[in-house]
């Protein structure tokens, strides 16, 4: 009788270890798909974006998404274009264009940037990132 009980216990222990092992393997196997499912998709680094010239007026600013982040296109003079990151270098807020002063103001902590992106005042530690701009027909190519 005790041999049967011992044999049952051994079978149960074996099955427990087997199922535990399978469970661990499955947990491992499924952790990766869940991580990949949730991980943000890679942005295309160094890609280019094309914008129509008439999207930005002279003295105006056009905000758009570039490499997954806010960016801005300016036309200070007719036919002259500047593309900058619109993310403030202080704490990551998005700057806004003050047309009458022709400069950027960060609404979070009053950082001020020139239309070339250099810091004019406030806490930002560095200038706004600048992106290369070229013209192709009636389009502005950023990047």
């Amino acid at each position: 009788m005790s041999e049967i009980l011992e044999s049952n216990q051994q079978r149960r222990t074996f099955l427990g270890i087997l199922l535990g092992g399978v469970g661990l393997v499955l947990a491992g196997v499924f952790t990766w798909p869940i991580f990949r499912f949730l991980a943000p998709q890679a942005e295309t680094e160094g890609g280019q974006i094309r914008l129509a010239k008439n999207e930005v007026s002279v003295g105006g600013a056009h905000f758009f998404s570039f490499q997954g982040l806010p960016a801005v296109l300016l036309q200070p003079q007719a036919g002259d274009y500047i593309a900058l990151s619109a993310v403030c270098t202080h704490l990551g807020c998005v700057v806004k264009w003050v047309a009458d002063k022709r400069e950027f103001l960060c609404p979070c902590h009053a950082g001020q940037f020139s239309m070339e992106g250099t810091v004019l005042a406030g806490p930002p530690p560095a200038a706004l990132e600048s992106f290369p701009v070229s013209l192709e027909g009636d389009q502005v190519v950023v990047g």
Binding site: L15, G16, I34, F37
Partner: protein, 364 residues
């Protein structure tokens, strides 16, 4: 470390006592069989639905203009999105299979009888709640299949006298399935119904633990007993400890069902997801031979068999009401299936009828 953690919890929560009462000293009947594992299987499958459902919510957009596209993105662009979606969609079918087996085993063993009426009724409501979850989830991909299957399913309520049309409009949020339908089905599917399901599962488990597991009506040891008119927790002295003995068996059967789900997901997802599920919904083009899911085929065909839809709906209502109230109608103390020839005949004929009408509905 393990002992110190237990000591810490024990001083504050009396955790050792809780574990003993619910695991090692929780004794099940000696002749407990494999059918008793289906509750644990359902808990495991429902948990999987919950996890995959939350993951799908990360990318799904509940808007008719974008819903189908978002599901396409999940299937084609998001890493392993196809796996998460198939586990969710195919998993719902496996849940219905497990639920049917669970209910059929409870019926066969007469475990629904006094004093387990609440366990049966809460289980029966859970079954229906799961079907409504399936129905509401079916619309969300906004495919031709989901759009028209929902149109057909909601249209059936129109057969209810006097309030039928109003009921259909209320369910759809308008005259036709549209933006408003998706909004309300989405809210029901991800919030209202899961919350109700969790609460009801809690109540169901409470009933199971409070009254005690019923002894299977098999073997020489079994004899029908008179049920007392006062509360008695059914004990099984000398029985099998839930942990580790029966918990291992639970795990083994859960693994079996997960294996079945994996087989279906990897090799035969098309069994539950027909081609019309891959076309975006077009409210102006009804696809030919639109059919509801396999578990609604019996209801779909019943509506067609009777001369009027109202009679079909009434017949369904009578069957479901009889099933829900079974513990109050079948009051005999005998639980051995082979000593209940009338019940056994109805049971077998009922299963045959369900299968036959479903097959008829599929090919009609």
């Amino acid at each position: 470390m393990h002992k110190r953690l237990l000591d810490f919890l024990d001083v504050r929560l009396g955790i050792r006592d809780i574990l003993e009462q619910n695991l090692t000293k929780y004794l099940l009947p000696k002749n407990v069989n494999i059918w008793y594992t289906l509750g644990a299987v359902l808990l495991a499958l429902l948990s999987l639905q919950f996890v995959t459902g939350v993951l799908l919510l990360v990318y799904y957009v509940p808007n008719p203009a974008e819903a189908f596209k978002s599901v396409e993105i999940i299937m084609n662009d998001i890493p392993y999105g196809w796996l998460i979606r198939y586990l969710h969609a195919v998993g719902s079918n496996v849940i219905v299979i497990a639920l049917l087996l669970h209910m059929l085993s409870v019926l066969f063993m007469g475990s629904y009888k006094k004093p387990r009426e609440f366990t049966w009724i809460s289980g029966f409501v859970l079954f229906n709640l799961t079907l409504v979850l399936c129905l509401t989830g079916y619309l969300l991909p906004w495919s031709q299949l989901s759009f028209w299957a929902t149109t057909v399913a909601t249209e059936a309520a129109g057969a209810v006298p006097l309030i039928g049309d109003g009921l259909v409009r209320f369910m759809r949020g308008g005259a036709m399935v549209g933006d408003a339908t998706l909004g309300r089905f989405f809210a029901l599917h991800v919030m209202v119904l899961p919350a109700g399901l969790v609460a009801l599962v809690g109540f169901h488990l409470f009933c199971v633990r409070r009254i005690g597991i019923s002894k299977p009506p098999f073997g020489e040891d079994y004899a029908p007993t008179e049920v007392a008119d006062e509360f008695v927790h059914e004990e099984h002295p000398g029985g099998i400890p839930f942990f580790p003995n029966y918990a291992i068996k639970d795990l083994a059967v859960i693994s079996l069902f997960l294996g079945l789900l994996a087989l279906l997901v990897f090799f035969a997802p098309g069994l539950f997801i027909p081609p019309s599920a891959f076309e975006p919904a077009d409210p102006f083009t009804t696809p030919a031979h639109i059919k509801p899911e396999w578990y609604f085929l019996w209801a779909y065909q019943t509506l067609k068999i009777f001369p009027s839809e109202f009679l079909g709906l009434a017949a369904q209502g009578v069957v479901m009401t009889l099933l829900a109230l079974l513990p109050f109608l079948d009051r005999g103390k005998e639980r051995r299936p082979f000593k209940r020839p009338l019940f056994l005949t109805c049971y077998l004929l009922g299963i045959l009828l369900f299968v036959a009408i479903s097959i008829w509905g599929h090919y009609s």
